[in-house]
């Protein structure tokens, strides 16, 4: 019985009128945890009740503490009939369960009803007394910290990075239970919300147990997803990276002993034998993932060589997995065998991280991905979700073998996703094959991976580009050159990855968002036939997506993609592919060649003219882009950099043909490695379309940059104004004469227009960069395409930007030093935190008494109480300041990034993981679908902010909207939407304030920037 949960209901405000006669409400509150319920008194006739309840105490197992949400229901008392529910608040108390996070949850929470939305607010205080019984962690895993952030959180140091953890739980979806036919939509929605809350609690606890088993203390890059499988159930699954983290106490601790172990160089098995097949037996030991033979020392044993691996790999994977769907039966048996060996799970050398401690990432091979089409069947026994586990195990296995084929032992930037339509489900996984430095992985790992790369890696920031595979036995044909940076190692001509650009990477110019978009019509079919059709289409989609990416990359004059995310969505009658990545010019890689167009019928004069016209346009675009993104690599006299090895046949020709994409990796020759030319052969209208679509992508207006990674290469002088946003668009395709071309055009226009709208809306922030642009596409119904974008716009200082034409080595040095500074500032920061005179005051009293200066982070509200309110200078020439003005709501920033520009994160308060359902039966009255969804998303933001504020935080980092499922039935005037969001609640302090902090007093100044991005002027 290791925990006592204490809850106090303080007050409510802005409640809705529940009694028409009096225009008032007789409200009371039910507080429920597990099976125990408490009630407050009824507060008669008020829209702003003051319950001021006693402390309700729940004595509970810590297992329950982890699984169950605290459920607070506000009701209107009715003497004669049943009490009416006003709404609910679910509070995840997990952040209270580990010592370093929040100690109290206290604040105003929006009261949420799935039919009416937010209806007033309630002030609640929650505390947990944990009886520290450390040995009893069996079923529970209290104390394990969770982070959505896909890098080592800012105020921690990674001692050991243990590796991949995953888990999934399944259940019946309440929406599909028989009882749903007789209960109200509200009851059904609430049952669903509650169930998902329970399931994610359980999932988190189970993952925590695995981490404990691995002797870790945290999960980083935690990604939890829901699969709404309809009839067949509800799956909640999560992946993450188990780590042992140390709270940074001394600055020295962080600085990794980069130059460490001069162990002995050993032979690494697969240096000798790069054949994928033999690999698989090699490194797969039943031990943990640290056992691979890492080969950071390749430099000796071989001259590394490279290629753009990802390209050639993925089509193959699509094929392979596609077939798996069809032969469900025999496969299952086989898979069950696989899953039986429980330890195998551990074997996945996967990391959900996308950014790494210095020295961790040694080489990058390329993108690996796998997809598989499955038919959903009812989950018969929810306690043993074998099938789903087996499906994923199979895919992960495939990923692993792909990585091996690339000469890599690990996969970083790993993620998994699904797309479901009726009973067909596409499972996808992707990541970046990489060679890692074992130093972080576990103490015990020897394996003779030594570390002689001092001279090689430290200065340049090109080491990760060097190929990890053997030049003589490349898994695919590629064009290799000597690294343009260090001239010692071989590099590929193009590099695709799913990770963020490494901090020390040498980059020329700026980056940009590159997208490939694709639609493919598919016949409507049932079950097996449908799965087969999809499986057959997948490889073509992958192929074309990659072709597009490659073309667009060349068009931008760049040579590498980071943060690549390819999403394939399945609908009733079509498949959609959307790939997003950030293109950059890596100094280490060769200059990309241009694109040449070749016509099929050379005799036709006018045609010829047309072709040359096109060619000119393309050349112009490339030149323009080079200028736009400031890509001007130093001219290097061509050395004789030979890559005599692979000289495949159709090297420089991108064939639009079909059969080739099927069987063999090598046949999909996308490695147009030649610098001089990349030939587009225009042999039909289809190809024509493609060339056109290449050119239709409009660059962002001047002053705007965009990327889908954390940091924008080439911009490092962020100012502090940020604006996170979500934009959703749904278009209806005219059902007449749908062709692939028309579809592609529609889809392309949809995305381009969406981007244009964003640029327009955010124009007041110029110069600014849209970071972490995250597109998701779904096909909610026949003929409907939904695109959801979440991103953050960050302003930067243009003047400084112009000065950043230093050499890259300098830059990286500089970065390193700023890192150090950061570290030095932490201890200061932390001790000011822990001063008793200045605790984090999330409590309501502080909110109330705080001056109207809402820009002040929670941590400082208390201090500023006496300060004069600077509200709206000029606008309020108050004689007596309005009384209401002095309790405005504290600003909570939200960002998909792991950091807040111009600020230091001083504390992580816990993970935010929320799931909401909103339904309406009066769609028209609520402003149609747009009005409905607009209000709902605004409400979701509000609830996230309220929870963060209640934890004492002032920002959410690594925020992500994982799901936004929208369904409408305009005829019935109904709509329903499900949204799932997550992120890390943090406390941040402005750097400018940090400087003022004289160890004791936090600055009470509010920078103008604090006011939450005043963006429209």
């Amino acid at each position: 019985m290791p925990g006592k949960l204490k809850v106090k209901i303080v007050a409510g405000r802005h409640l809705p009128v529940m009694d028409r006669a009096s225009d008032l409400t007789d409200a009371f509150v039910e507080v429920k945890f597990g099976n125990t319920t408490f009630k407050t008194d009824v507060y008669l006739k008020s829209l702003n009740p003051q319950w001021n309840s006693e402390w309700f105490k729940f004595e509970v197992d810590d297992e329950d503490l982890q699984d169950e949400p605290l459920q607070i229901t506000v009701l209107d008392h009715d003497t004669y009939s049943a009490n009416d529910a006003i709404g609910k608040v679910y509070i995840d108390i997990d952040p209270l369960l580990y010592s370093e996070a929040a100690t109290v949850i206290s604040g105003w929470f929006p009261i949420y009803d799935t039919i009416h939305g937010i209806r007033g607010e309630i002030n609640v205080v929650v505390k947990v007394d944990l009886f520290n019984d450390l040995n009893r962690f069996r079923q529970s895993s209290c104390g394990i910290k969770f982070f959505c952030t896909t890098s080592i959180p800012k105020c921690y140091r990674a001692v050991i990075i243990h590796g991949f953890v995953e888990e999934l739980v399944v259940n019946e979806d309440p929406e599909y239970q028989w009882i749903d036919r007789i209960r109200t939509p509200r009851a059904s929605n609430e049952a669903r919300q509650r169930l998902i809350s329970l399931m994610s609690g359980e999932l988190q606890r189970k993952i925590g147990l695995k981490v404990l088993e691995m002797r870790g203390n945290a999960v980083v890059g935690y990604l939890q997803c829901f699969d709404l499988e309809g009839e067949s159930g509800l799956v909640v699954r999560a992946i993450g990276t188990a780590c042992t983290l140390d709270k940074l106490s001394s600055p020295a601790a962080f600085l990794p002993a980069c130059n460490s172990p001069s162990k002995e160089m050993k032979e690494i098995p697969f240096n000798e034998d790069p054949n994928p097949n033999t690999h698989s037996s090699g490194p797969s030991t039943p031990l943990k993932n640290q056992t691979y033979s890492f080969s950071p020392s390749k430099s000796y044993s071989r001259q590394s060589s490279s290629s753009d691996t990802d390209l050639s790999l993925t089509p193959k994977t699509g094929m392979g997995s596609g077939s798996a769907g069809k032969e469900g039966g025999p496969f299952k048996a086989l898979l069950r065998q696989q899953t039986q060996s429980a330890l195998e799970q551990r074997e996945f050398p996967f990391f959900t991280l996308t950014a790494f401690p210095p020295g961790f990432l040694v080489h990058v091979g390329g993108v690996v991905s796998a997809r598989s089409v499955k038919l959903l069947d009812r989950i018969h026994n929810p306690d043993e979700p074998e099938t789903r586990d087996a499906w994923w195990a199979e895919i992960r296995q495939e990923i692993k073998s792909h990585a091996k084929a690339l000469g890599c032992h690990a996969v970083v930037g790993y993620s998994e996703s699904t797309s479901i339509c009726e009973e067909v489900c596409i499972l996808s996984a992707s990541g970046t094959a990489a060679v890692l430095n074992p130093r972080f992985l576990q103490d015990g790992t020897v394996e003779g991976c030594l570390e002689q790369r001092l001279e090689e890696n430290l200065p340049a920031g090109c080491g990760f580009c060097h190929i990890p595979y053997d030049e003589l036995n490349m898994p695919f044909p590629a064009h290799l050159t000597y690294c343009y940076n260090c001239r010692k190692q071989k590099v590929p001509d193009v590099l695709f990855t799913t990770i963020d650009l490494p901090m020390d990477a040498a980059v020329i110019g700026k980056g940009c968002l590159i997208q490939a978009r694709l639609c493919r019509l598919k016949k409507k079919a049932q079950a097996e036939a449908n799965a087969t059709a999809i499986s057959n289409l997948l490889p073509f989609m992958e192929y074309e997506v990659h072709t597009q990416l490659m073309n667009k990359l060349k068009l931008k004059g760049m040579n590498a993609l980071f943060g690549l995310r390819i999403q394939i969505s399945v609908g009733e009658n079509m498949l959609m592919g959307l790939a997003s990545a950030t293109g950059v010019y890596l100094a280490a890689l060769p200059t990309p060649g241009g694109i040449q167009i070749a016509g099929k019928t050379p005799n036709d004069g006018s045609y010829e003219q047309h072709i040359s016209h096109m060619q000119k346009k393309i050349n112009d675009t490339i030149a323009k882009n080079k200028e736009l993104y400031e890509i001007n690599p130093p001219e290097i006299c061509e050395e004789i950099i030979g890559s005599p090895i692979p000289e495949p046949r159709q090297r420089s020709r991108l064939l639009r043909s079909q059969s080739e994409s099927s069987d063999e990796v090598t046949e999909l020759d996308l490695s147009h490695g030649k610098k001089d030319a990349f030939v587009l052969e225009i042999d039909d209208t289809d190809a024509m379309e493609d060339v056109h679509s290449l050119l239709t992508d409009v660059p962002p207006p001047s002053g705007f940059y965009s990327c889908n990674t954390e940091i924008m290469p080439g911009i490092n002088n962020w100012t502090s104004e940020i604006q996170m946003f979500t934009s959703v668009r749904v278009i209806r395709l005219s059902s007449l004469n749908l062709t692939n071309q028309a579809l592609n055009k529609n889809f392309n226009d949809l995305c381009e227009n969406l981007l244009k709208s964003l640029y327009f809306k955010l124009r007041s922030m110029i110069p600014c960069c849209l970071c972490h642009v995250n597109f998701t596409v779904s096909l909610p119904e026949d003929e409907l395409i939904q695109v959801t974008v979440t991103a953050v716009a960050i302003t930067f200082d243009k003047n400084q930007a112009l000065q950043t034409t230093k050499t890259h080595a300098e830059k990286s040095l500089q970065r390193a030093s700023t890192d150090n500074e950061e570290l030095l500032q932490f201890p200061l920061e932390l001790c000011s935190d822990s001063l008793p005179s200045h605790p984090f005051p999330p409590a309501k009293e502080h909110l109330e008494s705080a001056s109207s200066n809402s820009g002040i982070p929670a941590a400082q509200r208390a201090v500023t109480v006496e300060k004069a309110s600077p509200v709206g200078e000029g606008n309020f020439r108050n004689r007596s300041s309005p009384p209401c003005a002095n309790s405005t709501v504290g600003v909570v920033k939200m960002t998909p990034l792991s950091f807040i520009p111009g600020a230091k994160i001083t504390k992580y308060l816990g993970i935010i993981n929320m799931f909401f359902i909103r339904e309406t039966t009066s769609l028209r009255e609520e402003g149609g679908v747009s009005g409905f969804l607009h209000a709902f998303i605004a409400e979701v933001f509000a609830m996230v902010r309220a929870h963060v504020a209640a934890l004492g935080g002032n920002a959410v980092v690594s925020y992500i909207m994982k799901q936004c499922v929208f369904m409408e039935n305009p005829n019935k005037n109904q709509a329903q939407c499900l949204i799932n969001v997550s992120g890390d609640a943090v406390v941040f302090v402005r750097e400018s304030e940090l400087e003022v902090v004289s160890t004791q007093q936090p600055a009470a100044t509010c920078q103008p920037s604090c006011t939450g991005g005043e963006v429209t002027t």
């Binding site: 802005h14 709206g872 606008n875 006011t1011 939450g1012 429209t1016």
Partner: protein, 364 residues
């Protein structure tokens, strides 16, 4: 390829001031888009009409959602749904409660009732302000009126507290509420030359001096016992004003008053002879206005009377403003020298305010 759904939601709510103005002015989305196109924004930003349409829709939706909160501005500050920086909140409120001069002149002094609301069509046609905007402005007047109607204490402070308006705007609203409550006639043709500012100026003086709230005198130290109401004129005071009648009814007093004023002003006024000739008429006019204020009907006609009895005679004789000032000062002050007159305080309370009002009303 119609967009079924198209939304943009920022963590910080985006407020475009230009679009807000168009929305407040009551333009439909398509009109607003057309106006924005005309403003040349497409050329400046390189955007397309479709982008503009989508942007405008988004803003309009946001404003519609905010409107509910704007009806009770303190709610806007407390609510959690829209994260808006304080300076922006102030802007939203201030602009929402701002009104058009042309509109306010039409409804100033009218009862803020359903009947008046029905006339908004005509006002809209007459002023060229969209009906939607007229409605908003009318509803604002009415809402403020309803909230502060029964309240004690300073009218301006009450308005400022409950609507978080700037000082300037709160004063304007105080005038509007005061006029609506007392139903002063402002629409007559001969009053057309007066601006809202003129009336607001008078309203402020009257609130300060002629209402119940004014009895406590110093606004900084209101008598807690007094019925501190700024909305209603002090009935007792109005009743007492009858006593002033003696100034014109008693022939000796009137002559004495005249001679005192003429003596003092001789040589100082450009229009001395006209003044001398007109003195009795003017004085009778001003005193009779005071004496009649016991009747509601006459209270309503206060401004009409003032213009008829004082402003127009002065104007027809081309009195310069400075002469009017000198005359009124002397006219008020001389009464103190009338030994037979006992209502000096009453006279000062009446004339002090009236003098200010009259000076303001005397222009073309």
């Amino acid at each position: 390829m119609a967009s079924e759904l198209d939304i943009f939601v920022g963590n910080t709510t985006l407020i475009d001031e230009d679009v807000y103005r168009l929305w407040l002015d009551g333009y439909s989305v398509s009109d607003a888009v057309a106006l924005r196109v005309r403003s040349g924004i497409l050329e400046q930003t390189g955007a397309t009409a479709a982008v503009l349409q989508s942007d405008t829709m988004d803003h309009y939706r946001t404003f519609q959602m905010l409107e509910r909160l704007l009806h009770a501005p303190p709610k806007l500050l407390h609510q959690l749904i829209f994260q808006i920086p304080p300076s922006r909140q102030a802007l939203l409120i201030e602009r929402y409660y701002a009104f058009d001069e042309a509109f306010v002149r039409e409804v100033l002094g009218k009862k803020l009732s359903k009947g008046t609301k029905k006339d908004l069509d005509d006002i809209s046609t007459k002023t060229g302000i969209t009906l939607k905007s007229c409605r908003r402005q009318f509803d604002n007047f009415k809402r403020v009126f309803k909230v502060v109607e029964e309240m004690r204490g300073s009218l301006v402070d009450n308005i400022q507290q409950h609507f978080l308006l700037s000082d300037r705007l709160a004063r304007d609203y105080a005038a509007i509420v005061f006029f609506a409550n007392n139903r002063f006639e402002t629409g007559k043709k001969k009053l057309q030359y007066l601006s809202f500012g003129d009336f607001a100026f008078c309203a402020e003086l009257m609130i300060q001096n002629w209402t119940l709230g004014a009895v406590g005198e110093a606004p900084t130290d209101p008598d807690p016992q007094a019925d501190d109401m700024d909305m209603d004129l002090d009935k007792e005071f109005l009743q007492d004003l009858k006593e002033l009648k003696v100034l014109v009814a008693d022939k000796d007093l009137l002559d004495l008053h005249k001679s005192l004023v003429c003596t003092a002003l001789r040589g100082k006024l450009g229009v001395f002879s006209e003044m001398e000739a007109n003195f009795k008429n003017l004085s009778r006019g001003l005193v009779n206005v005071a004496a009649k204020l016991t009747h509601n009907k006459d209270v309503r006609d206060l401004f009409v009377d003032l213009v008829e009895k004082f402003v127009e005679p002065c104007r027809s004789d081309h009195w310069p403003l400075n002469d009017v000032r000198l005359f009124l000062n002397q006219y008020s002050a001389s009464v103190h020298s009338l030994d037979g007159f006992r209502h000096q305080a009453l006279w000062d309370r009446y004339m002090g305010t009236l003098r200010g009002c009259l000076l303001r009303l005397c222009h073309d």
